[in-house]
Symmetry: C2
Subunit: 148 residues, 2 copies
């Protein structure tokens, strides 16, 4: 008789680690989101920026960076690209700050991005009943809060 070799090749000492499973799960969701957003030529970070500006008209790019955990220096090429594509407008508030807003072109794309992000979310949220899903998100927020 052949030995019932399991489908997993290796013993995995990382399997029970919260940090490891968190990273692997995050990679899976990011890959799914990225492929859904690629159809409208947006990366997850770009879509997040657009949604944040849409919800916070006249915010600055420093505000966005603080909210998303992206450094000011790294916001520059991101915003430049969104403006080059005509998705975001900005107008000076004072001599150093610029108020961001979604352009008309951008508004249409925000709608499409939101649809795709909600479809993506539903795909994974439906793995859990509403209660479990909510507890999961709250647990993740607790982990995130350690970083503050």
């Amino acid at each position: 008789m052949s030995s019932p070799e399991i489908s997993v090749g290796l013993a995995d000492p990382l399997d029970s680690l919260l940090g490891y499973q968190l990273r692997r799960a995050s990679t899976v969701m990011m890959a799914d989101l990225a492929s859904n957003l690629a159809e409208i030529a947006l990366r997850p970070t770009e879509a997040s920026i657009l949604l944040l500006i849409d919800a916070n008209p006249a915010c600055t790019q420093s505000d966005i960076g603080r909210s998303l955990g992206i450094q000011r220096a790294n916001m520059v090429p991101l915003m430049a690209n969104l403006m080059k594509r005509g998705l975001v407008d900005r107008s000076p508030v004072d001599g150093r700050s610029q108020a961001l807003s979604i352009s008309e072109t951008g508004a249409a794309l925000v709608v499409e991005a939101r649809v795709r992000m909600e479809r993506h979310e539903s795909r994974f949220q439906q793995l859990f009943d509403p209660d479990s899903g909510e507890r999961l998100i709250e647990a993740l927020k607790q982990i995130r809060a350690v970083g503050d």
Copy 2:
């Protein structure tokens, strides 16, 4: 329950998204692990590779890559670095495969890595009672399984 958004500067439409909180939580844990492992000059990926080899003597670097989700091409510089530091040995099995093992030097470092990884895990696991922690990990495995 809705969260009070007084302390935050911006309205955050991403706050209730599983994928977003997963990514932010993962970043926090990865940063904590990285800083704990930096004291012994290991990155999280390197420590994971060492623990996997330790648990699976005579495995190949392709096995490791499959288990960790790292492509063969990207395993090459990782393994080269671990061997250059004398942490891993390898010996040919057949003409194309090489069996990996932890060296004596590596074994001492594996012990230290395991201590630091367990301390790191405890710090975050203790945010939850044992039951919730276990459910959290199982939920993350379900999400990860979508990627297969």
